[in-house]
Symmetry: C2
Subunit: 272 residues, 2 copies
């Protein structure tokens, strides 16, 4: 079996031989589509958006996996309700942890005895781990593999874009000029690597006062619209900073309210 | 002149010879104290806290510099009101940009034609740039050099801790269990590298509704207290998510209200 036969980029990629391609597809895996959730900036909600999309896809009946590429700041195990689980390995294959919604998960914290231990590694090692998470993990049959990218445009982002056949990226931002500037760096990086950007998910758009119902806009970014226009980007959806979303970060993603669910559903329709 | 004569760690470090030390001190610089502002997690407000501390120190009459070590997500030029300025170099020395409050600044965005351009470099190169920002920049006489660290515990954090003589670090966190876990990684990293942690600045503690004045707690982290106790850390100060602080990220740090100023002042008294 050639390396291309089970590659998510089969038929759409420009490499015609295994030799001209940096990707190692595991013959035990058959992944239809790989989506990178990216931002450039930390703390804007990449992992939360990844978790919400994964859950909604699973609810719609798709088989879903999440590869947590944020090796030095992994959030996925807590968000997916498996913070005490451990991934197993037989020395060659690594088996993902499967959560209560049937979502397959791989994260460095699933391989550590103590989640508080830091991972103090140089970039090429970090990139190597992410490659292993793609090539050595037995993902099996997946409709969607979501990759939760680390902040920044350094080693790991570069490795993911160069060596994993991702179909496209979703950019997560917040309505703040400073953040738009840094997200623009990530958008420009994706363009340089010829990876499509599906569009932008805006997070923390506003907060609703639980007493008087007032919508408080936390940020007053003026550049967001011009940023979207300049980069020819579609707004995929907007999330408020609501208790329902914050609860996810405390208690995992299993319960989300209907309003959030309908926003996620609309985002998914644009990236399928 | 030996490499130790103008080292901020002179007299407190264990290296007795230049050969056993990885630090290159520029003979043109004389820096009294270097403080790293760290978190492990992105988006919690490291750069904002750095900017607030720098401004307050300058107001108190100290000479201050900021080294923006977040090469792939640099926020300092915008926060310090110099986003269109450029740093000059004569081929050997690099001259920092000085803002209207006399604070000396170095950031990768001060060396780029377009701030939206991404820096797509492998970790060792990123680390090399940060070392240059310490060794090749003419900081001159400084009472305090603040280092705004990137998120994560990867290359750049490692390089800063190994090759710049920092006196101690301030950890920035938000009251969210998921974040405490990641900040714990950074605290453990500092401990492994024998660098003192002065304490924790908690950001985004609450938001005040501008209509009814209700204090809305965005996060309900239960682990923050136990996290502080477990790691024997002092709480240096708490910032609300207030318009005064958010304005800084839009308009730079020159104007802050009195309440914020008194919180910063109290933090500074603990790290001097």
């Amino acid at each position: 079996m050639s390396n291309c036969s089970n590659c998510p980029s089969k038929g759409t990629c420009s490499s015609s031989t295994k030799e001209s391609c940096a990707i190692e597809n595991n013959p035990k895996n058959n992944i239809s589509k790989i989506i990178g959730i990216m931002s450039g900036k930390g703390g804007v909600g990449k992992s939360t958006v990844t978790a919400l999309i994964a859950n909604e896809l699973a609810k719609e009946g798709y088989s879903v996996g999440i590869l947590d590429a944020d090796i030095t700041g992994p959030s996925i195990p807590r968000l997916m309700g498996v913070k005490d689980a451990k991934a197993m390995s037989d020395g060659k294959n690594i088996y993902p942890v499967v959560n209560s919604n049937g979502i397959k998960l791989m994260s460095i914290n699933l391989m550590m005895d103590d989640e508080n231990e830091p991972v103090i590694w140089r970039g090429p090692i970090l990139g190597g781990v992410v490659k292993q998470f793609y090539s050595d993990v037995i993902w099996g049959e997946l409709d969607y593999l979501l990759i939760d990218m680390p902040p920044g445009t350094g080693d790991v982002a570069l490795t993911v874009m160069q060596s994993i056949p991702i179909s496209g990226t979703v950019m997560v931002s917040i309505p703040q000029d400073l953040v738009s500037m840094i997200v623009a760096k990530a958008v420009n990086m994706a363009k340089k690597m010829n990876i499509p950007v599906y569009g932008v998910v805006e997070n923390m758009s506003y907060i609703e006062c639980p007493d008087c119902g007032k919508k408080i806009k936390l940020f007053e970014g003026e550049e967001t619209d011009s940023f979207m226009k300049k980069h020819n980007l579609e707004l995929l959806g907007e999330f408020p900073m609501s208790k329902a979303i914050i609860d996810i970060t405390q208690n995992g993603v299993s319960e989300t309210d209907e309003k959030i669910s309908s926003i996620v559903s609309s985002i998914i329709s644009k990236i399928k």
